[in-house]
Amino acid sequence: MLNFLKQVGDYARESVQAAKYIGQGLSVTFDHMSRRPITVQYPYEKLILSERYRGRIHFEFDKCIACEVCVRVCPINLPVVDWEFDKGTKKKELKHYSIDFGVCIFCGNCVEYCPTNCLSMTEEYELAAYDRHELNYDSVAMGRLPYKVTQDPMVTPLRELAYLPKGVMDPHDLPAGSRRAGKLPQEILAETQPRNGDTDQN
Amino acid sequence: MTLAEGVQLVSFGLLAAMMIGTALGVVLLSNIVYSAFLLGGVFISIAGLYLLLNAGFVAAAQVLVYVGAVNVLILFGIMLVNKQEDFKVIPRAWIGKAATGAVCVGLFALLTTMVLGTPWALSSATPVGDGATVLIGIHLFSDFLLPFELASVLLLMALVGAIILARREYIPDEPVEASVSDALTLPERPRDLVSAGKSDN
């Protein structure tokens, strides 16, 4: 009998607990309703991407020495480097270079290891195409620079959360010249530079 | 004839035709699922007839119990049974059908003569209409208390039986030793009764 009563009591307590948790959940959902939408209305508004954004890869044909480091460091040996050895100059002459962005995972290894910095990451992420073969970019296509979001008259550029002033959550209608929270990289650099000089002298 | 009488006559005709049509469909169609769905139609038309007789509560109860519960359970039964049997042509099947038909026609004739021959005592009292709910309640707890209680006991027994059938998880393929008398027990896997209630956790 006592055991049964204990079971009933436990069951009742668990039910009350469940009800309490559902109530807590409801209050969380309700609280979210009073927050501002974080929606970026995409074709009309776009986020300004961070400096380290890894978008479509840019390639400078003239800098390339056809060393094929990019191919070696690529997880799937994706870049296609077509060169011919020029006996006269005793140098490799690059003829074609292409990367298939339908397969690329944008890991950035090729950019990291390129000895002549002829590869770099852009901010372009709008790579939709009607045919997957269109994503196979050759050196000319990769040499194009994407249009900057901040310069596009059709687009309202929005700052990402980390680039907003302190305490501001809404990227809309920021006052001109408002700077982000914390120090900028060049400021940190400027602060650390003289001290480095001191240590060198000592 | 007033508007109300006209509406009543037309709806009676429609409901009667619907009821007979669906009932014939239940019996005559070869697809059992159609029969089950048409059975729902029969129940609905009967409920409609109750409505015409000013018995709204009975009509709603008819829909709730027969359409909402009985018919749905029949459908459940049909859809959950996954037994396929090839259709075998039985020789001289027409004898059975003819015999059934004869019996049915005979029963129908018998009932018709009975209905036509009985001097029905038609009550001239006005139907209670919406007061029926109260009246049914009073009757159930005074005149018909015993049948009411018996019916509830019967339902309880059916419930217990269903639970026992549902809890039986394992039936051995070969019969258990005949020496042990198990006339009144169902073959069942022995299990811990205390943990039974908590097995779903």
């Binding site: 959940g25 959902t29 979210h32 | 709730l64 018919n71 459940f76």
Partner: protein, 372 residues
């Protein structure tokens, strides 16, 4: 007790004064409230769909529909037009008769139940004696349509979804009916008008929600399950059953399921408002205010104000509950089928029975508070 405004009487009297026979005047009146109810039910779908989208968006910090009409109010209409123009496909191996009949059987009982929803003393299509019982009986017909569409689609997901829907509907009908029964016992009547009347007079304090604190929870859980709203939307669980019994449907037949589910949600909310939140009664009783201010309740303008306030109150309460349902949708995860049946049979049913017994006991002990 004021009689309030009686449109039917006034309408018939007006026509009789114009020289029409009484029978014809009544026949002319009959289709009016039904048409009005059908139209308002259809409009309520648009409102509910819009609310659902907007509240869902707000709960997830999105914007929601924005470009179709002001604040996206025409989005539901756009969706409906799209569904109307879609090709009506019946799968090759499906049973075309049952396939077509299924959605209709799902929708018709829901609209039928709107007969008994009152918006005021005389603002109801019919004041049936069986009132709320009609709703319970009608909502038990819906599983037949679900089984029909599930079976006829000739698709295992559809069949499973249909069977789940029917099982869920049957199991939650019982706690629902039991919690309604407790209310009926307190108001001594099945009629929705009487149920509201019994709660009137004391403003917000007289509402049944204070007398049935457990009953209204049971009712709301069971009603959500009946409507297949999100914690209980297993019959159409996308992750498991593609879309349940709706898998093979397109075009307006698919639309009918949605019409049915949204009208059912609004209907359940309306019924909840009538049973537990005092129907058309305002939180502060209008009669009481009028008597304090010394206005007779036969003054025409007061009657008009009371009637329109009553309609507004009923709709407002119902949409408050719709809001709660949408909020619950984004709070509570979907239950498993065994949890669903556990909750129905092992939790709600016993508690509903105990609640019924308690109500009966309290009714005998305190007849003044729990209906004599």
């Amino acid at each position: 007790m004021s009689q309030g405004i009686d449109l039917q009487d006034s309408f018939i009297q007006l026509l009789v004064q114009l020289g029409l026979p009484t029978g014809l005047a009544k026949a002319l009146w009959l289709p009016l409230p039904m048409t009005l109810m059908l139209i308002s039910a259809t409009v309520s779908i648009f409102v509910t769909v819009w609310l659902e989208r907007k509240i869902s968006a707000a709960a997830q910090q999105r914007i929601g529909p924005e470009y179709a009409g002001p604040l996206g109010t025409l989005q539901a209409a756009a969706d409906g037009v799209k569904l109307l123009f879609k090709e009506d496909i019946v799968p090759a191996q499906a049973d075309s008769i049952l396939f077509t009949l299924g959605p209709a059987i799902v929708v018709i009982p829901v609209f039928f139940s709107l007969l008994i929803v009152p918006f005021g003393q005389h603002m109801v299509i019919t004041d049936l004696g069986i009132g709320i019982f009609l709703w319970i009986a009608m909502s038990s017909v819906t599983p037949i349509g679900l089984l029909m569409s599930g079976y006829s689609s000739n698709n295992k997901y559809s069949l499973l979804g249909g069977l789940r829907a029917a099982a869920q509907s049957i199991s939650y009908e019982i706690p629902l009916a039991l919690s309604v029964l407790a209310i009926v016992m307190m108001s001594n009547s099945l009629s929705t008008i009487d149920i509201v009347q019994q709660q009137s007079g004391y403003g917000i304090l007289g509402w049944n929600i204070w007398r049935q604190p457990v009953g209204f929870l049971i009712f709301w859980i069971a009603a959500l399950a009946e409507c297949e709203r999100l914690p209980f939307d297993l019959p159409e669980a996308e992750e498991e059953l593609v879309a349940g019994y709706q898998t093979e449907y397109t075009g307006m037949k698919f639309g009918l399921f949605y019409v049915g589910s949204y009208v059912n949600l609004v209907l359940s909310a309306l019924i909840f408002a009538i049973l537990y939140l005092g129907g058309w009664e305002s939180p502060i009783s209008v009669d009481w205010l009028a008597s304090i201010l010394g206005i007779s309740d036969t003054v025409p303008w007061l009657q008009v104000v009371t009637a329109s306030l009553g309609i507004m109150m009923t709709v407002l309460k119902a949409y408050l509950l719709v809001f709660l349902a949408v909020l619950l949708r984004w709070t509570v995860p979907r239950v498993r089928i065994d949890q669903l049946l556990d909750l129905g049979w092992k939790f709600l049913l016993p508690i509903a029975l105990v609640n019924l017994l308690l109500t009966a006991g309290l009714k005998i002990a305190f007849p003044f508070a729990f209906g004599g």
